[in-house]
Amino acid sequence: MTKVFLLLCVSLTFIFPLKAKQIWVKPGKGFPIHKALLLAEPTDTLLISEGNYFEKNLEITKAVTIMGINYPTLSGENRYELISIKSNEVVISGLRLINSGYSDLEDMAAIRIYGNKHVIIRNNILLNNFFGIYLTNASYCLVQNNTITGPEREQNNVGNGIHLWKSRHNFLIGNTIKKHRDGIYFEFVKHSLIARNYSEQNQRYGLHFMFSDSDTYYQNTFMNNGAGVAVMYSQHVQMLKNHFTQNWGSSAYGLLLKDIRDSKVYGNTFFKNTVAIFMDGCSRSLFFKNTFELNGYALRMQASCDDNVFRFNNFLTNTFDYATNGFTVLNQLAFNYWDKYQGYDLEKDGIGDLAFRPMNMLTGVIEEYPTSIILIQSFLSDLLNVLEKVIPSLTPENLKDETPLMKPVS
Amino acid sequence: MIHIQHLSKKYHQNQVLTNINLHLKKGMVAGLIGQNGTGKTTLIKCILGLTQFHEGDICINGESILNGPNYRKLIGYMAQVGRYPEKMQVAQLFEMMKQLRQSDATDTELWESFELHKIRHQYLGQLSGGTTQKVSAALAFMFNPEILILDEPTAGLDPIASEILKDKIKKESEHKLILITSHILNDLDEIASHVVFLQQGTLLFFETLEQLKIKSGHQKLGKTIAEIMLERSAIV
C-alpha cells in the first residue's frame, strides 16, 4: 500500500511540476515590492532588480523567497523597520538594506523575524541600521554570509548586529559584523551554532550572551571590540577554536566569563587583549589547548571560581600570566606551557621538575591594593618578583603548575 | 700693586688668616715664609680668587678683586704641585691658555730654555713631577704678567732648571711684583728683596731682607728665620 502511495506521489510531481513562479520586481513609483508580494503565493520567488527601493516597512506573511540581483538597495529612510518576517520558510538573500529607523522605544531592525521557523537570511549587505538582524522566538533559522556594518553614531543610538532573543536551534555562520553596539547578542538562546563569524570594532562587545545554554561557538574571530566578548549566566557552552584579538582598553576583555558552568573553552587563541580571560563565578569548566600571547593579563580569576581545569595551554609573553584575589585555590593547573618558566627537566620527559608559580608578587600586591599598579614596570616590581620566587608570601601557596611543560603545545 | 687690607679667612671653625694687612709694590720680590700650615698657600689662593675670604679686601692696582676675574690677566701663577688634565698634550695646554687669555705668548724664554718643544706632544699625565713644574713655570711667565705668584717654584726641579728659573726671576724682578713661597730659604736669600713672615695666620713682620739681616746680625736668611722662630716659640 505504501509503495503504491509513494509511486503516486512521485508521478504526481512529474505531472504537476513545481507550482512556484518567479516574479520580477523593478524599481518604480508606488511600492513595487509590496505589489509583488500581494501577487505572490507561498514558495514563489521575488527577483528584485538592481536599483533603489523605498518600501517603508515590508511585512512578509507568506513563505516566499526574496532574492536581490546585483544588490538592490532598500532604504528605511531612518524611519522604518525594513523587513518584518511573520511567516515560516522565508528566504531573504542578495539585498542591500540601509538606514533602518531608530528609536528609544522600539528595537527596529533591518530584518526581524517574529517567532517563525526555517527562515534563511543569506548574502545580504546591511549598512547603517539600528539593529541588523533580529530574531525573536525563532528556531531552525540560518543567518549566513551577511555583511553587517553599523552606523557612525553614539552607543545609545546603535543596536546590535545580530540579535537573538528566546530562540533555539539557529545557525549563524560566516557573517561579518562591524560597528554595532554588540556584534552578536544572545539572550535565552539555546542549542545554536555560531561559526566562522567575524566581529570587529563593535562599540561594546563583539559577542554578548546571557542565559544561553548549550550553544557552540566555533572558529569565530572577535577583534578590536570596545570590551571584547562577554559570556554570562550560561552553562554547557562550547567555545572552540575562536580568535580573541586586540580587545584592548581599560575595561576590555578578550573573554569575560561570568557565572558559567560545565563549559568548554578549547583551542582558542587570545592575542593582545588587556585581559585574555576574566572569570567570575565560573565552575566545572575545562580550558584546554588555548594559546595566550601578548596579553596584559592572561587569566584573571576571582576567588569565586572553582573546579575549573586548565591544561595544555600556552602562555607566551603576557605581562601577567595569572591573577587572583583569593588565597584559596580551587582550580587545577597542570601540563601548561609557561614561557616565564625557568626550571629544568632532568628526566627529559618534557615536564619541568620544579613547579611553576604563575602569579608574581606585583600581581599579588596589585590585587590587594589596586593603586599600586603605578609601580608597574618599575625596578622595585622586578625586585619584588625575584623576592617572591625565593619566599612566596603574597601569592597563594598552592597556586602552581606542578607539571609545567618544557615546550609549547602545538 | 697688591694691597691687602684686614684680610681674614676661616675654614669651617678654623681661623686660617687673621687681619692681614700688606702692601706689595712693583719691583719687590717678596718671599712669603712661615711654618707649615700657617696660611701661606691660603693667602695666595685668596689673591688668586681660588678661595673666598670673609673679611677685608684685596685690591690690585686699586681695584678690588671681588669686582670680577679680569685682574687675573695681570697674574702669572705657578702652583706648588701643578696638575693638569691627563689626556691633554703639552702644546694643547699652551694653546688653550692663549685662547683663555686671548693673548699671544709674549715671553717664551722659559719654553725655550726648558726645551719644552721637545715634549710638546706628550700627554701631561705622563710627565714627571719636575717636568710638570717646568711646564707650570713656563706658563706662569708666558704672558709677561705684571705680578707673578710662585708657590714653591724650585721644588722638584733639577739644579740646572732651578738655576734657570732663579735667573729668570731675578731678571724679571725689576719691573714686576713677584711673590714667592719657598721652604728652601737659601733660594729666597738669593732672589728676595722683602720677607713676609706669617705665623698662625697672622702677619708677623714684613721687612726688606737687608733690614732683617741687620736686625739679627746674621748674613744668612736661614739662620735669621730660625732664630726668630725660636724666639717666638720661647715667648709662647
Binding site: 591594593y369 599598579i373 | 688668586l48 689626556k87
Partner: protein, 255 residues
C-alpha cells in the same frame, strides 16, 4: 666658555669608558629587539634597562668626572674667566657627552629594528633623565668635598630613586588603602624623576590599559595637555633646581 667646553668635551671623549658604554647600549638594545618577538615588548625592556642604567651611570660618571677634573678647574680658576662660565662649561660638557653617548646607540637601534613610533618618547626620557641626574650629581659633587663620600651619596640617591622611594610609595598605598587615593598616585610620582619618566612612557605604550581605575584616572591626567605640561614642567624643575644650587656652591667654593 665655548673654548673650555670644547676642551672638556674632547677630554671626556678620549676615555675608553664612553665608547664601551655606547657600544654596550647599542648591543643591549639591538639584542633585546632580536630576542623579543614583539617590538613593543623589546622597547619596554630597553626602556626599563635605561631607567636603571641612566641614573646610576650618569650620576657616578659625572660625579667622578667633576672630582677628577678638580685640578683642571683650579687651573682655569687662576685665569681671567668667570666662575659661572667654568661651571656651565663643565655642566654642559658632561651632560652633552652623556646625552650623545646614550641617545645615539638607542636611537640608532630604534631606527634599525623598530618602526620608530617610540623614538620621540624614548628620546625625551633619555634627555630628561640625563639632564636631571647630571644636575643632581653636580649638586652633590660641589657640595661634598670628599670624593668617596660624594660617590657613595650618588649611589645611595640612585638606589633611593630606583627602589626605596617606590617602596615607600607602596607602604603609603597600603596604609591608605581604606581611602580612595587613585587620583593621588600620580602626585607621588612627581617627587621621583624616574617614576615620572616611567609613567610618561607607559602611557605612550598601551600598557596603561592594564592599570584599571588608577590607570584611567592617570591617563586622564597624563593624556591631557595640562597634565603633560605639568609633568614636563616638574621635570624641568628637577633639572634646574639642583643645577642652580650646584652653581651657587661652585661659585662659593674654596679650591
Amino acid at each position: 666658555m665655548m673654548q673650555i667646553t670644547k676642551y672638556l668635551i674632547l677630554n671626556i671623549l678620549k676615555s675608553r669608558f664612553m665608547a664601551a658604554y655606547a657600544l654596550l647600549l647599542f648591543l643591549l638594545s639591538s639584542g633585546l629587539f632580536m630576542l623579543s618577538n614583539d617590538q613593543d615588548k623589546a622597547i619596554i625592556g630597553i626602556h626599563n634597562v635605561l631607567l636603571i642604567l641612566i641614573p646610576l651611570v650618569v650620576m657616578i660618571y659625572s660625579v667622578s668626572e667633576i672630582y677628577n677634573s678638580t685640578d683642571f678647574i683650579r687651573l682655569l680658576l687662576t685665569q681671567p674667566v668667570k666662575r659661572k662660565f667654568i661651571f656651565f662649561s663643565q655642566f654642559i660638557s658632561n651632560t652633552a657627552v652623556l646625552l650623545a653617548i646614550q641617545l645615539l646607540p638607542i636611537v640608532l637601534s630604534l631606527i634599525l629594528f623598530s618602526d620608530g613610533s617610540y623614538l620621540m618618547a624614548m628620546g625625551s626620557n633619555i634627555f630628561f633623565l640625563t639632564l636631571i641626574f647630571s644636575s643632581i650629581s653636580s649638586f652633590i659633587a660641589y657640595k661634598i668635598d670628599e670624593k668617596i663620600k660624594g660617590i657613595g651619596m650618588t649611589i645611595f640617591l640612585g638606589i633611593f630613586f630606583l627602589a626605596i622611594y617606590d617602596g615607600l610609595v607602596l607602604l603609603l598605598i597600603q596604609a591608605m588603602s581604606e581611602y580612595p587615593i587613585e587620583q593621588y598616585g600620580i602626585v607621588l610620582c612627581l617627587f621621583n624623576p624616574i617614576d615620572m619618566c616611567r609613567i610618561l612612557f607607559i602611557f605612550k605604550m598601551d600598557i596603561s590599559a592594564l592599570m584599571g581605575l588608577t590607570g584611567a584616572v592617570m591617563q586622564k591626567f597624563v593624556g591631557s595637555n595640562l597634565g603633560s605640561m605639568i609633568i614636563h614642567i616638574v621635570l624641568c624643575f628637577w633639572a634646574i633646581i639642583p643645577m642652580s644650587f650646584a652653581a651657587k656652591f661652585f661659585i662659593k667654593k674654596d679650591y
